[in-house]
Structures are given as structure tokens and as C-alpha cells.
């Protein structure tokens, strides 16, 4: 007698009705029929037993009042049990979580969980129940391969619109590199499907033959019947990365390459019309690729993948952006590149690094913003989160101020690396008090210098204020040339500081 019947208690009823021989005959008929309509697992439990609902209470910092958080927000997503008794889900499901509760399949209890690893760049996270024994009877889901285009997949999760687990079926529509909305400034391999993926599905498994072939993670505004899931390659990279107990992130080489399809350009670089090679257009200053590559080198092969003149590589039956070849490596590994330089073949190795220089240009999670308050002046690093908090480009009255901040955050490093700051600092706002009431500048400006010290990072603000022995603090904004400036009586500022913190209920004047 198999587990299916035992679990449901049907066998006993059949024996009672038809006798043992009759019951076996009927059971054989049902078993023969079942595979055609319901997945039957003689040994394995149904995969949905490993799928959990994740209930999250979260609070997001207020970036222009960085000691403060928004009201608690409740949301839910999906996850599934993987090897090691842990739960895999999307990073965006658990971002900024204050409390995580897990609901097992058809289990009324809420089980507290915590985040073990979060890879916000690839929107994946691993959770652990506070009592891991609660998952000891759950068979973890196994991972399959990248599903072929046109093949059928089933999503499984807890989307909005009901409380019970929901299943949707669809085909793999296409496979290519897509922007990952959660970090905002990363693009990785993703699979598009017409299976419905709705809010709440996030982090749920996408199944094919009972194996996980993806993690549902995002939709795309304006597209109908299009959801996206993270393919096994990206998930595998993440899991391999954390195997050493630390998450480094997807590495980058710092190369911008362009298709090389123009006949004149190919001729000048010594290439015929054979469809080979993409052109190195620019290299990030100080990046690892800048050590071994030059602009107009032709990338012919990356990590064993031949690069086409369209800037793409063949990848498991698909044609995807050559960046995927770089994303196969882990941080710290060396990747072999085959080049043509001045028409001559060349083999080089590039050290892959986990680049954090654009960290603030993407959305940040889980680490509350750094800040420093002095005499009611609120200083915090310029970040994408801050910009999203203070306004939206396109609104005229904010336009010029926000444009300057946007340029500093997203363009200055690439255009003038010498004048970019490692961590531009903004005056986020003022806590009104007589000592600062005459300030004309009310915030939303990059701090250029304080008391003559160029502000490269938040710690410089503290140092510049502490070390000043003059009668006043002089603060210059919006460099590199002259911009607005303000001054503060040093003694009065120090005297007012504690009173301001008390008035506005601020426990700490800094988070550095």
C-alpha cells in the first residue's frame, strides 16, 4: 500500500467495502489512472509540502530623517525549503524585516524565522527557522536545469487574492538578461514566462518535473501575461557564494562592451565578416579589467563562451548578453578572456571583483542609513534611497536641485572619476532651532567643504566640526566650484546641540 492511500485513510475504507482482493484491484486501477491527471509520487512527497508562506513586518528608514523609520508595513511572499533545512526566497520579500514568520503548508502555526543571507543584488535570500527542527520532516526541493524556451513550468506560491496556495501554469517565453528591479542597478539572467506571477508569489518555486527551475521574482509594468523568474544558474551562483559563510555578490570586471557589426569598424580592428567578437568601449577606472584590457580590444571568448559581434553568447540553447559569461565567476576568481588586440590574438585573465563603488547608486536594504546631526543640521550620505525619498525628477520646482544630486550620484564617477567623492554627503535637512533658523539652505545639497575640509565621506563632517577652533563653522555646498554657503556660531551650536536632540526626541546624534 503506498503512502498516498495511507495518508488519506482511503485504503481502510476500500477493504471494508470490497474485501482485500477487491480493494487491491480497485487500487491498481486508480494508480494506473492517477498519473495521467494528478502527480503521483510513490516515494517523494508533493513539492508543495516544501513551499511556505512568509509573513513579514518591516520598517523602512526615512532617509531625510535617518534616525526614524516608517510605520510598520505588513507583506507576504513565498519561499521553499532547500537542502540544509533552510528556506530560499527573494531578498525583497524580507528586506527591512523586523519580524519574519513562516507558515508551512497546511500548518496553522506561525514559525519565527531569521535571515541568514541576503543577496540584494540578485534578489535572493536564505532564511532559517528559529527552531530548525520544524522543517526536519520536510523534503527539500531539488534544483533542475535552465528550462528550455517553450517548455511548460508551474509556479507555486501564495499570491494576493486568497489565503491558500496557488498554482499557475505557463510556458517559458524567453531567456535573457533583465534589469533586477530590487537593487535597481543590476541586470542578470532572467526567464520570462506567461504563467501568472503576482504579488505574494515572490520567492516561490517555479517547477518543472517536480524540480525547481526558478524563483519567481518580478513582473514588468505594461506587459501582459509576463512574469519573470530567477533561473537556476543565478540561484546556484548565490548558493555557492554563501557556502563559505559570507555573501560577496555577483562580481564585475568593469567593462562596457559594444556590438561590433559595422563593416568599417571591423575592418579597422582587423576582423572579417565572420560574426565574431564584441568591442571594448570603455573600462571603469581602477577596475580589474582596466589592468589588462584597452578600449577597442575585441572580446572573442569569455570563460569559454564565444562572443558574437552582437555582444551576445550562446548559452544553453539561448543567445544572451555576454555579461552572463562574466557572471559565471565568483568574486575573487580569475576569468580567461580571448582577445584580438590590433588584429593579433591575445589571452588574458581578469580578476573578478565584487564591486561596491556604485553601492549607493543602487537601492540599499537592511542597513539603516548613516547620519550625523550637529546643531540641528542633518548630514547623511547621498544615495538612491535618499533621492527617492526627497523627490521625483520631472517635477519642475525640484528639478535643478534634484538634477544636481542625480548627476553626482549616477554620472560624476564615470565622467570625472578624479572629482567624484567616495561618499558624497548631503545636508538632508534642518531641525529648526534659533541657532540654525537663519540658514537659507534648507537641505538637498551636497556638502562641498566644512571649515575648509573637503567632505569625501560622512566621517569627514564629524572631523571638520570637531577640529574647528574658529568662532564659526563655515559650510560650503554644491562643489566643486562655488555654491551656497552658510555659517554657524560654533559655541552656540555646541550649546544648542543637546537641546535640539531632546526637543526632537532623537536618541543618538550619529550612526556612523
Amino acid at each position: 500500500m503506498n503512502q498516498f492511500f495511507l495518508r488519506e485513510g482511503i485504503a481502510e475504507r476500500l477493504v471494508a467495502s470490497f474485501g482485500e482482493r477487491g480493494a487491491k484491484w480497485i487500487g491498481a486501477l486508480v494508480l494506473a489512472w492517477l498519473p495521467g491527471c494528478v502527480p503521483l509520487r510513490a516515494e517523494a512527497p508533493p513539492p508543495e509540502r516544501a513551499v511556505v508562506q512568509i509573513l513579514v513586518s518591516s520598517q523602512v528608514p526615512v532617509y531625510d530623517a535617518p534616525w526614524r523609520f516608517t510605520p510598520v508595513r505588513r507583506s507576504s511572499g513565498t519561499g521553499f525549503v532547500i537542502e540544509g533545512g533552510r528556506i530560499l526566497t527573494n531578498a525583497h520579500v524580507i528586506a527591512w524585516a523586523k519580524q519574519i514568520l513562516v507558515r508551512r503548508y497546511q500548518d496553522p502555526r506561525l514559525l519565527p524565522a531569521r535571515v541568514v543571507y541576503a543577496g540584494h543584488d540578485c534578489d535572493l535570500a536564505v532564511l532559517e527557522l528559529e527552531d530548525p527542527r520544524e522543517l526536519s520532516d520536510v523534503k527539500p526541493l531539488a534544483f533542475g536545469d535552465l528550462p528550455p524556451v517553450q517548455s511548460t513550468v508551474v509556479t507555486c506560491g501564495y499570491p494576493a487574492g486568497g489565503d491558500q496556495m496557488s498554482f499557475t501554469r505557463g510556458v517559458v517565453s524567453r531567456i535573457e538578461v533583465q534589469p533586477y528591479a530590487h537593487p535597481g542597478n543590476r541586470a542578470l539572467l532572467a526567464v520570462q514566462t506567461d504563467a501568472a506571477i503576482n504579488p505574494g508569489n515572490s520567492g516561490g518555486p517555479v517547477l518543472q518535473d517536480d524540480k525547481v527551475v526558478g524563483v519567481a521574482f518580478q513582473g514588468m509594468p505594461g506587459l501582459q501575461n509576463a512574469g519573470f523568474f530567477i533561473p537556476p544558474e543565478v540561484v546556484g551562483h548565490f548558493l555557492k557564494d554563501i557556502a563559505d559563510g559570507r555573501y560577496d555578490g555577483f562580481p564585475q570586471a568593469g567593462i562596457t562592451f559594444e556590438p561590433l557589426q559595422n563593416p568599417a569598424y571591423r575592418r579597422v580592428l582587423g576582423l572579417g565578416d565572420d560574426g565574431r567578437g564584441a568591442r571594448v568601449d570603455s573600462l571603469r577606472a581602477g577596475g580589474p579589467a582596466a589592468e589588462v584590457l584597452r578600449p577597442d580590444d575585441v572580446l572573442v571568448q569569455v570563460g569559454g563562451f564565444p562572443v558574437g559581434s552582437d555582444g551576445m553568447i550562446p548559452y544553453r540553447g539561448n543567445r544572451v548578453a555576454a555579461g552572463v559569461a562574466f557572471q559565471q565567476a565568483q568574486a575573487g576568481e580569475r576569468l580567461k578572456l580571448s582577445l584580438l588586440r590590433d588584429g593579433r590574438p591575445l589571452e588574458v585573465e581578469v580578476r573578478m571583483e565584487s564591486y561596491t563603488g556604485d553601492r549607493l547608486a543602487g537601492r540599499q536594504y537592511d542597513e539603516p542609513p548613516r547620519y550625523l546631526i550637529h546643531a540641528g543640521l542633518i548630514f547623511t550620505p547621498l544615495s538612491a534611497n535618499y533621492l527617492e525619498t526627497v523627490g521625483q525628477l520631472g517635477r519642475d520646482y525640484l528639478w535643478e536641485g534634484l538634477a544636481r544630486l542625480t548627476y553626482q550620484l549616477h554620472h560624476l564617477e564615470a565622467e570625472a572619476p578624479g572629482s567624484a567623492r567616495p561618499e558624497a554627503v548631503v545636508l538632508a535637512g534642518l531641525l529648526p532651532h534659533p541657532v540654525n533658523a537663519d540658514f537659507g539652505v534648507r537641505g538637498r545639497l551636497v556638502v562641498n567643504r566644512i571649515n575648509g575640509v573637503r567632505i569625501e565621506r560622512l566621517e569627514d563632517v564629524r572631523r571638520a566640526l570637531l577640529e574647528n577652533q574658529g568662532a564659526r563653522h563655515l559650510i560650503e555646498f554644491d562643489g566643486p566650484e562655488q555654491g551656497p554657503l552658510e555659517a554657524l556660531d560654533r559655541a552656540a551650536a555646541s550649546a544648542a546641540h543637546a537641546d535640539i536632540l531632546r526637543t526632537y526626541g532623537i536618541v543618538s546624534d550619529q550612526r556612523l
Binding site: 568599417a264 578600449p295 538634477a403 537663519d438 564659526r472 566650484e481
Partner: protein, 483 residues
Amino acid sequence: MKPVRLLLRVVVFVLASGTALLAQAGWENSVVTIEVTSKVYDAFQPWNDPTRAVRKHGLVIGPGEILTTAQNLPTHTLVRVQKGGRGRWYDARVTWWDAQTNLALLTAEAPAFWAGLRPAALAGTVARGPEFELIRWRDGNLEARRVEFGRFTVGEGVLGFAPHVQLEVATDLNGLGWCEPIVSEGRVLGLTTHSNGRVCGVLPATFIARVLAAQRAGGFTGLGYFDFTWQPGGNPELLKELGLDGPPRGAVVTQAGREKDPGAAPQARDLILEVDGFAIDSDGDYLDPDFGHLMLENLANRAHFAGERVKLKLRRDGVERTIDYVVPAARFADELVPRENFDAPPRYLVAGGLVFQPLAQPFLRGWGDEWRKYAPFRLQYYQFADAPDGRDSLVVLTGVLPDAINLGYQDAALTVLDRVNGRVIATLSDLAEALDNSSPGGVHRFEFMPGRDLQRLLLDAATLDEATRRVVEHYGLPAASRL
């Protein structure tokens, strides 16, 4: 204008009016309708010259003279006028227009047009309401609707960037800004220029009168502006830091203008105490005898025009001094990204299907009413940036007309040229000259501004001219360039 015709028109005019001024209501004899057909810039196909027709108002202000706003007139192809709100349209001619003041003068040759028309008087003093009337022709009938006095303010004009005084009136009327006269007690207080919700902007009559008087006398050199930037001197601690005790006052210069001679222009960290004899308060305002408190920017044009000297009393390094500052002319061409270019038809150059245009705000406005939201950020940001390498204009690759020669570049666009064949590019003429030569390998090398976008592309030099001819023919362009 031929003297005989002018004389005839003046005679008709005097016979019809009997007096030079309209003493009371009777605006139907002074307010006329103007129909302007003008060329509209096509941002992505600048060789096209589509047209648009609009109707606005004009004000008869003298013999053979109609005053209106300059909007829509700089690129006009046909201007007609109509009196009485209905009936025959008469051909008209633009005799003068100025974008910075947003004013224009028209005339019509046909004596019949002028019959029965009488000049309106521009108010010589400033009125503060509380209510005025707005006059407009609507469906052949003259409307007089109440509007409320709002405030006098200083801001850029609708077409230009030279700051000047403006009147704001509050109204529930929609669709204003078509040069409707604002009137009170038989005199014109101003002409509407734009509306935004319940607020309607008005050019004050006293401002108009001063400009017209100078223009008639041949002494109008254009509006000017203060090309330095400043902030209010409201922070006493900052003033102490700059060596000034006492109550907050003045404006602190934060960035010098083009004139670097400290004896002729304010420098960063100067404190401006007086402009043209008016004390500057800690908000950066002065007390105007006519309009009340206004921003100091208005003093560039209150009693001066471009090129004239304005006395600035400064505090610099703890010492007061007075300098004669020459007010620079507000010229679109002096902006790195010009707001307008009315001097010539839209310029472009097509080379092997690559379409280049000067980077200018009209191109950015090609993204529609919400262009600030949708036009490429990096292109827009040049409006706030210093010119790279000191160049005073920029050229942008605005699109690609696909052809065999530009295969592979079909997505390359919206990026600013830096060099072509090694030559720095600031204008389309620079580009045209750079293409007279080629780079090693028999190619033209186009390099773009450093940054995150495409850095360079190459085109075959030997076949470029042939390819350009092919593109011009294939896409129906009138010419490969208009420089």
C-alpha cells in the same frame, strides 16, 4: 513702408478716432485678433518645417501699429489681423519683435483695416486692483471678465530668460495667455503671457511702455541680466564670517559671472549692499517705488538695458566699494544649451545617416509637455553644467537613419559629440570641417563625451559622401545639412 500709404493710413486713423486715446470703454475698437501661422520645430526630423496656426490678441497703440506678445511670431510664415472679432482677415506684417521682452509690433497695409480703430492707452502708473477686467474676443463677441490683482513678481519671460517685473492676476478663466489685455478705468495695465491654473502672468504696461519708448528712440539694446549667482544675506553668522557686523542685509555672491575683473564685476563672497542706489535687504530684495518689494534681479532692467552700467555697492574683504557693472545682454547664444534659437531655421547635419543637431532646449522639448521628466537626463543636465573644455555649445547625435554604412549603430543616439577625427566639436560647422579629413584606417572617428554612454563609432570615409547622398534620397531629406 511707402510714405503715401503711411500718410493715407494716418489720415484714416485720425478721421476714425478723432482723438489719440481711448478715454473709456470701447475696447472692440482697440483690441484685434491676430492669426499667426508659424513653423514648428520637429525635434527628430529638423529638416521638416511643419506649421501651426494660433489666434491671439493685439492692441492698437498708434497709427498703423499693433502691439502684441512675441510668442509664435519669431518663426511666422503668415500673420493676419481681424477687427471686431469677426469678418475679413487682413494681411499683417511684423515690424519688430523681441524674445526677451516678449513684445512685438505689427502693422497692416490695408487702410480698410484701420477704419474705426482707435489706439488704446497704456497705463503710465501701476494699479493694484483689487480687481481689473480682462478683455478678449470669444466667438465673435467681446468679453470683459473680472480678474483679481495677485502680486508683482520678478521672473523670466515666457520666451526669454532675462528677469523682469511681471504682474500675476488670479482668475477662474481657462485658456488665457493669448495676449488678452488687462484693463482698468479705460487704460491697459498689461498683456497676458501665460496661465497656470488660477494664476495668469501679465506683462505690466509700464514695462512695455519703457521698452517701446526705447525701441522707438532707437535706444533699445535688449534686456540684460545679472550673470553672477547670489544668495540672500539673511544669516548673520555668515555675514560675520564675511567681515560684516550689524543686522542681516544684502546678497552674498556665490559664483562670479563671465567678467572676471574684480574691479568690474562682483566676485564670489562679495556682499552686495546696494544696486543702482537701492538698498538690498536680507532676502535679496529692494523696495521698488512702483511695485513694492522685488527681487534685486529686476534692477538689471528696471532703469537700464543691456550694455549699460549699473552701480553696485559691495562689501569685499571687509571693505566697502562701488563698482560699475556692465549689464550683459541676455542672448540665447550665450547659453551652453540655448533655450531658443530664433535666428535661423533649425540646424542639422546628416553624415552617413547619423543625424547631428546643436544641443538646445527646443530639442529637449521634443519629449513633450513633460520633457523634464522624459527627455534624457544627461542631455538635460548640460543646462546646469559648465561647458566641457570651455566650449560654448554642443552637438548631439539625435538619431540614425539606417543605411548600410551605419550598420550596427542603429541604437546609437542621444549622446554628445566630443571629437571627430581628433577635432573638438562645438558646432555643426566644426563637424562639417572635421569630416573634410579622416582618421587612420580610412574611417571617420566619432568620439562622444566621457561617461556611461557609447564612447565612439567609426564610419567608412571613402563611401561617406555617397552614403549620405543615398540617405538623403532614400529618406526624402531636402538637403544633407542646414548649417
